[in-house]
């Protein structure tokens, strides 16, 4: 949207005195916060008793830093940012908006070619598989949280159901990956409906608490149903996927020998990468398709106003249950993939922190935006790996990044919502057609 070049007074811009006052206030808070944390310290004295040592120098340094940063923020930073947004001409901004669909396409192309770039780097290939897995989980959760507006804190339960379904079916009946995969999806969808029924009347906080509980119930069942799931020992020796019947090993009828290649364990990794990429792209395609069907519009309407939905004859029970089932199904498919990739699963892989991570991906990416989810998954998991060496500070940086995004982009990285249909020109108008393909995988 073109924004006129008008210099309007910025109410947030503070003059010198006010900035000083604010900086003093920030410094005061810092004193209160750190006086006991940093200023006083107990150490073991020579006799073994604890002695209190003071570090008021350090405290003074920190407080001074807070004061100066606050001053700099209100005097310099706001001015720079405000002027910068005004300096960018409207045309550039429109171009930037148009860029997003190119970005999505570039993303998909890059994802397709990733194994070519990283063929020799096993570590990066594994990371890419991880990122795409979480992108797919994000897409699945996006249906429940982003479209239908049902806050689900127990999404990992469906991931677990998919993984265990695959592991148990494949081991017990010896069926192939491609038969077990849809079965795992269907079973996870059932679990979704199972969760959906009791929470039909709940919204917001209450729904979040019950889904959180559901996630824990599934984990505890997996942990305690020793005879079926192996309890804390998990399930090992889960069959690996084969390339249409050709196993990835060095035997004469293996994948490498059949195609006359020199055997390499990387073949399997690349194959796994393409399997999860195909699953993620399928999820993306289905989601974008559903958004333009009545069920998708009903989901979004449900998020906006449930009572109005019912007044218009929308069966909200079925609408919610289908949202839970669809989201759970994609979570289950990703779970089945996880099981076959790891070859070993145990309840430890399905803790609440996984649900929280997927939810963070969806929320930071911009609820309802496919491209946003893919970007957020890449940034977060890539960031985790990047900061692996600074293990102590990883969560600190992660937390700061979260706070920054919530303050500066409260609706996520990609905050714009593309309408599911345009009043100008038919079903799939040009603008939407582009957006419809937007959002690939990392």
């Amino acid at each position: 949207m073109p924004v006129p070049h008008v210099r309007e007074p910025n109410p947030k811009r503070l003059d010198g005195i006010a900035a000083l006052k604010q900086a003093a206030r920030a410094a005061g808070i810092a004193v209160g916060l750190f006086v006991l944390l940093l200023g006083v310290r107990t150490e073991q004295g020579p006799t073994g008793a604890l002695v209190i040592t003071t570090r008021f120098g350090l405290l003074a340094e920190i407080v001074a830093a807070v004061f100066l940063l606050s001053l700099a923020r209100s005097l310099v930073w706001q001015r720079v940012v405000a002027d910068f947004t005004r300096l960018v001409p409207a045309a550039v901004r429109t171009a930037a908006a148009g860029l997003s669909h190119h970005l999505a396409r570039a993303f998909v192309v890059f994802a397709l070619l990733a194994p070519v770039f990283f063929y020799t780097n096993r570590y990066l290939l594994d990371l890419a598989i991880l990122i795409v897995t979480y992108t797919m989980l994000g897409f699945g959760l996006n249906i429940v949280v982003g479209l239908a507006g049902l806050l689900d804190l127990g999404y990992v339960a469906f991931y677990a159901v998919g993984a265990y379904s695959y592991a148990l079916i494949a081991q017990t009946f010896g069926l192939s990956f491609w038969i077990c995969l849809p079965l795992a999806g269907i079973l996870a969808a059932f679990a979704g409906v199972l969760l959906g029924f009791p929470v039909l009347r709940l919204r917001g906080d209450y729904l979040a608490i019950v889904t959180l509980g559901f996630g824990e119930i599934i984990r505890l069942i997996l942990l305690n149903w020793q005879s079926l799931t192996g309890g804390p020992n998990g399930i090992s020796g889960i069959p690996r996927p084969s390339f249409f019947g050709l196993p990835f090993n060095s035997s004469p009828d293996g994948f490498a020998a059949t195609f006359g290649l020199h055997y390499s364990p990387t073949h399997r990794i690349v194959f796994l990468y393409y399997v999860i990429l195909a699953l993620a792209l399928l999820t993306n395609w289905v989601t974008l398709r559903l958004r333009r069907l009545p069920i998708g519009r009903a989901w979004e309407a449900l998020r906006e106003d449930e009572i109005a939905c019912r007044a218009l004859g929308v069966n909200t029970t079925n609408t919610k249950l289908t949202a839970f089932a669809m989201g759970a199904m994609f979570g289950g498919l990703a779970g089945a993939f996880f099981a076959t990739r790891q070859g070993f699963i145990s309840p430890e892989s399905f803790t609440f922190s996984e649900s929280a991570l997927v939810l963070a991906i969806v929320v930071l990416g911009g609820m309802g935006s496919q491209l946003g989810v893919a970007v957020a998954a890449t940034v977060m998991l890539g960031g985790f790996e990047l900061f692996r060496e600074f293990d102590q500070y990883r969560m600190l940086v992660f937390g700061l990044a979260m706070v920054a995004i919530v303050i500066y982009r409260p609706r996520g990285l990609v905050a714009t919502r593309a309408p599911s249909i345009s009043g100008r020109g038919g079903n799939v108008p040009a603008g939407l057609g582009r957006n419809a393909r937007s959002g690939g995988a990392a």
Binding site: R289, R297, A298, A311, G313, P419, G423
Partner: protein, 278 residues
């Protein structure tokens, strides 16, 4: 009255714990008529609406709706979405309830959810791009366009509904209700917050949809200018009890109605106080 009744409310009582919101109320609304419900604040009008549209289940009473084709629905037995879907009663809300983040066009398409759902083969056919669904959707868009045009919002079809000014939001809500093909349209204070010109336009619009689309309208309204001008029949409630029922002319001169709206004369208050003390 010669017209055939479309909605018959019989002995309706709605109790919330110790509060009697509607008490033994009976009246009927006629086909192709505009029936107005009036009464002071807290008289039970919106409660009655919520009973008719299934958002509340009445404590006692029967609500029967007869379609022009002859099909009869007992509304007190249906859940709210089936009242909208099968009995085809559409409603608007006192505090406008639009899908604020969605575009105007999307709002009107959600209203056609059930038809589109069938056309999309309950999503399965639609997912694979069946031609039947594309046709049905084009039809739904045409219908939505027609109603947007009727309420003068055609050029804003792609804007989010929440960005509309208040008066336009009220009109859009009526358009959305009309997209469900209702037999009975229930409007909860459609003229609230509108200026004189807007409420005159609203009168015109309601009369037009009544005569062109052959629907019946049930209306809660405080704006007496609107009520007296367009209603064929007025029901007056006070403290959950019907105190008058008739044409605008009859209601205007009814002493009970005047007392309810303007209060009773001073000498009567003195008499009541004396009774309470003794």
């Amino acid at each position: 009255m010669t017209a055939t009744p479309i909605l018959a409310v019989e002995h309706l009582t709605m109790r919330f714990g110790g509060l009697l919101a509607v008490s033994d109320l009976s009246f009927s609304a006629s086909e192709r008529h505009i029936t107005a419900l009036i009464g002071p604040n807290g008289a039970g009008k919106t409660t009655l609406f919520n009973c008719i549209t299934g958002f509340y289940r009445p404590t006692v009473g029967r609500l029967s709706l007869v379609h022009p084709g002859g099909a009869t629905f007992l509304l007190e037995r249906l859940s709210e979405f089936r009242i909208a879907k099968e009995a085809r009663v559409a409603r608007t809300f006192q505090n406008v309830r639009l899908f604020a983040g969605m575009t105007l066009l999307e709002n009107l398409l959600v209203a056609q959810h059930n038809t589109l759902m069938v056309a999309s083969g309950f999503t399965v056919l639609g997912l694979f791009g069946a031609r039947r669904y594309a046709r049905a959707e084009a039809g739904a868009v045409d219908k939505a366009r027609y109603w947007l045009d009727r309420v003068g919002l055609a050029d804003r079809a792609d804007d989010p509904a929440g960005a509309l000014p208040y008066g336009a939001q009220r009109r859009l809500e009526i358009a959305r209700a009309m997209c469900t093909d209702p037999v009975l349209l229930c409007l909860d204070e459609p003229a609230a917050g509108l200026n004189n010109r807007e409420s005159a336009e609203l009168n015109e619009f309601l009369r037009a949809i009544r005569s062109e689309h052959g629907i019946s309208i049930l209306l809660i309204e405080h704006d007496m200018g609107v009520v007296m001008e367009i209603s064929d029949h007025i029901v007056v409630l006070d403290y959950g009890v019907k105190i008058a029922d008739g044409t605008p002319e009859e209601v205007r001169n009814d002493p009970n109605v005047i007392a309810a709206y303007l209060g009773v004369p001073n000498e009567e208050i003195g008499r009541i106080e004396a009774e309470v003390r003794s």
